[in-house]
């Protein structure tokens, strides 16, 4: 049975005046339904480029992307938006500052106007109804990010592409949003690609991990196997830095 989402030998280079940067070289991945694929790497590793390439926000030089086995390479966000949605790092600016939240969520329904469904989703992501009639500026980062999830679900998208979605949040809010994602995954309602620079966070949330460096995937596999038995030095270095900053579980 074909994977829910798959990428085969993806290539992308940026030409900026004289400088040519190899953003993606021969990257492949797959995602199955109900699974969260974590992509971890430092800035410039190409993890965001990969996500944008999948979403159709930038054109690939080479390689193909498939949804349920069907090739959708070259589609623009207008078309890919039918089955996948992007969640951005800066939650507040992912909503039009002049419109109330309800209108922005309604907009992603592709013509569908289902008030009840919106209320249901807002409570699913743990928010109060009255927030719907407010503008993004009066919501916190955490609240906006939950609204973004509600909006993605309202568009009946199968896949969420999360680009450093919790990096701008404070630690406590980040923990709450991660908990929400874990609950959604448990109910089988969530299949997502989760990009982050924080390997500890990815280890808590994702079933499989891809470690990226300078545009290539240096290591890939089940989360626990990669963390317990890293084969590539770079992964070891990432894990060592994470351990140097880790806080042991304190006895309750």
């Amino acid at each position: 049975m074909a994977h829910l989402l798959e990428g085969k030998n993806l290539y992308k280079t940026y030409r900026e005046k004289a400088k040519v940067t190899q953003a993606l070289s021969d990257v492949s991945f797959y995602l199955d339904r109900g699974e969260i694929l974590g992509i971890v790497g430092e800035s410039g590793s190409g993890k965001s480029t990969l996500l944008k390439a999948i979403a159709g926000m930038l054109k690939l030089d080479q390689g193909s992307v498939l949804y349920n086995g069907k090739d959708f390479t070259g589609m623009t966000p207008r078309q890919t938006g039918a089955f996948l949605q992007m969640i951005f790092q800066d939650a507040n600016s992912s909503f039009d500052p002049r419109r109330v939240m309800k209108k922005s969520i309604m907009e992603s329904g592709r013509g569908k106007k289902d008030e009840g469904r919106i209320l249901e989703l807002v409570s699913l992501v743990g928010l109060e109804e009255d927030l719907l009639s407010r503008k993004p500026s009066s919501l916190s980062g955490g609240q906006c990010q939950r609204m973004a999830i509600a909006r993605a679900f309202y568009s009946d998208a199968d896949i969420l592409l999360c680009d450093e979605m919790t990096s701008a949040l404070d630690v406590t809010t980040q923990a709450q949003v991660v908990e929400l994602l874990q609950d959604l995954k448990k109910d089988g309602r969530l299949s997502a690609v989760f990009v982050s620079h924080d390997i500890a966070l990815v280890s808590m949330l994702c079933d499989r991990i891809m470690v990226m460096k300078d545009g290539t995937c240096v290591e890939e596999g089940d989360t626990l196997t990669v963390i317990k038995h890293p084969c590539v030095d770079y992964t070891k270095e990432l894990l060592e830095s994470a351990r140097r900053q880790s806080i042991q579980e304190i006895s309750e």
Binding site: E42, S43, D170, V171, T172, Q174, A175, V178, H197, D198, I199, A200, L201, S203, M204, T223, L224, I227, K228, E237, L238, L239, S241, A242, R243, R244, Q245, S246, I247, Q248, E249, I250
Partner: protein, 255 residues
């Protein structure tokens, strides 16, 4: 009881009408690393600004640097302390220097402001301790030509130029990658061990604090929620807020 290099007593700091720091009490002993941990808006950076002095804030209470109170000090007197007694490093790695003028000119300006002769030999030695090779090459280049990690190391060199006893670091790792951040904190540790520099590091990242701090102060909404030795705060926190913070920090799942 080791001698307190910096002692902050009942400090209140406000921007026009907004109270940013409410009655903060904390201190750091000579040769120690104090980490001030808090979310954005907790007042931690305002505390640093109160120490270095700024026209944008009104300060009440006292900040004793080796017994001398900085709060009533006039701008001119405080300016003499900055650079010589207190070194400052900011979050934006490229923010320490004028991006379009050479490091050499700017290092000379800093030294000339304190009537200190430019000593190439001493600078070279300082660069080496901070893991910076090719001192002359760096001095001739301009900040906009350098990476974030490099700029931050040169900013540390600039702060350590005149051997200050106290080094204030305001979120110096948050603009850097994880691996570079750890490397920069290692360099701070080397400064503490080799030169006995006292360091105050402000960060939102509890992990960085756990890795480097002797003392930790947790701040939230302008108040110092908890203040004690690193072990005491990390393993036996008294306050609910600290316990939640420790619970919510992402942990590497290894089993």
């Amino acid at each position: 009881m080791a001698e307190r290099l910096l002692d902050i007593k009942d400090l209140w700091v406000a921007y026009e009408e907004i109270e940013a720091v409410k009655g903060a009490c904390l201190y750091v002993e000579k040769g120690e690393v104090l980490c001030i941990v808090g979310e954005s808006g907790s007042g931690k950076s305002t505390l640093i600004r109160a120490i270095t002095g700024s026209s944008m804030i009104t300060v009440k209470g006292s900040i004793l640097l080796e017994g001398e109170d900085l709060v009533p000090m006039k701008k001119r007197e405080r300016q003499k302390l900055l650079g010589t007694k207190i070194g400052l490093i900011q979050q934006n790695p490229a923010g320490a220097f004028n991006p379009i003028r050479t490091f050499d000119k700017q290092f000379r300006e800093t030294l000339k402001s304190h009537d200190i002769l430019f000593d190439n030999e001493k600078l070279d030695q300082l660069f080496v301790t901070l893991g910076l090779k090719d001192t002359q090459g760096i001095l001739k280049s301009r900040p906009y030509e350098m990476s974030g990690g490099m700029n931050q190391r040169i900013a540390i060199a600039a702060a350590m130029l005149m051997d200050p006893e106290l080094l204030l670091c305001d979120e110096i790792t948050s603009a850097l990658d994880v691996t570079t951040a750890i490397a920069v904190t290692d360099e701070l540790l080397r400064l503490k061990n080799e030169k006995g520099t006292t360091i105050i590091l402000v960060t939102h990242n509890l992990g960085i604090a756990a890795n480097i701090a002797d003392k930790i102060a947790i701040m939230s909404k302008g108040e110092v929620i908890e203040f004690g030795s690193a072990d005491q705060v990390l393993y036996d926190p008294q306050r609910e807020y600290t316990r939640n913070l420790l619970r919510d920090v992402p942990k590497l799942i290894e089993k």
